[in-house]
Symmetry: C2
Subunit: 181 residues, 2 copies
């Protein structure tokens, strides 16, 4: 069983090392992991080439684990989010995790700070007047409902936010129980 590994850790300086840790954990759980930087030496360096490499890996995968840890803002990496949609549309189960435990609503409210406003119906709006999803989910509902519920969360220290594999390991346990046991 092949698991596609999606997440913004591909942008870390030690992205290859983190990927190898993830691949080793996949093996320990009985899976073959597919990670975008696994074959960095031969990987294309242009955008369309990387895109086609990722698409080919997603098509080949039986399932996936997506890292939805907030990335350069209050929500998940849009590239990872795109991949979740792609995988789900092709019928592949996706487990997801975040290394920040606060709900999306709490994160956006915290980011808005004093600029937060409240509607008559009790709903909150951010500094741009945009409604904040009130569902108590870890991410936008299009991600939270697409992936196996609930998204596994774990409060990693800030310095390990994109490297901590505690929640990733929990996703592997869930995937093994669903696909291999």
């Amino acid at each position: 069983m092949k698991l596609y590994l999606a997440g913004p850790e591909v942008f870390l300086p030690d992205a290859v090392a983190v990927g190898r840790q993830k691949l080793a954990l996949c093996r320990a759980f009985g899976f073959t992991g597919l990670y975008a930087l696994e074959t960095e030496e031969v990987a294309p360096r242009d955008a369309p080439g990387i895109y086609q490499t990722c698409l080919a890996m997603m098509r080949q995968a039986d399932a996936a684990i997506a890292n939805l840890t907030p990335f350069r803002g209050s929500g998940a990496d849009p590239g990872t989010a795109m991949e979740v949609g792609f995988l789900v549309a092709r019928g592949k189960p996706v487990w997801a995790y975040s290394n920040v435990a606060a709900t999306l609503e709490d994160r956006v409210r915290a980011d808005a700070g004093a600029r937060l406003t409240r509607e008559r119906d009790g709903g909150w709006r951010d500094q741009d007047g945009l409604a904040i999803e009130p569902f108590g989910l870890a991410e936008n509902l299009m991600l939270a409902c697409a992936t196996k519920l609930p998204i596994v969360v774990h409060d990693a220290p800030a310095a390990a936010r994109y490297r901590d594999l505690t929640a990733f390991r929990t996703c592997l346990e869930h995937a093994r129980a669903a696909l291999l046991d």
Copy 2:
């Protein structure tokens, strides 16, 4: 021809009015638009219900236009990004636009400010040490390569960032030329 309309304008206080403007423009270009809040009166208010409504509309659509304007951070709304992946995986052409004209690289560099660092190979890293995609694209390559190139950009005034339809109209022109002419 049915066009699914994806974007974070669904979070605006006047989301229904903005959606109706988009639907009217779709009609003017010969398309039937599908917009998540079109039937707000009967729409489900729970997350799984909204998710299933959006999925049903995406399955019904022949193509889509996605609003990838930066949302609560340097990148596109993750919910919209998920939808782009879903649509592309099902073979639907997606045109995309952003109401911020700066490239992803320029936006992330500006957000990082003095905390920006430079690699020996000339690449930039943000305040968390995460690599900044150097491709001169408007968005993460998984979005920019999934959608019709290039993403249409237009610098809307900040107050109209999620309402301006200039770039949306350009996407409609491109979609009409590809699908109807």
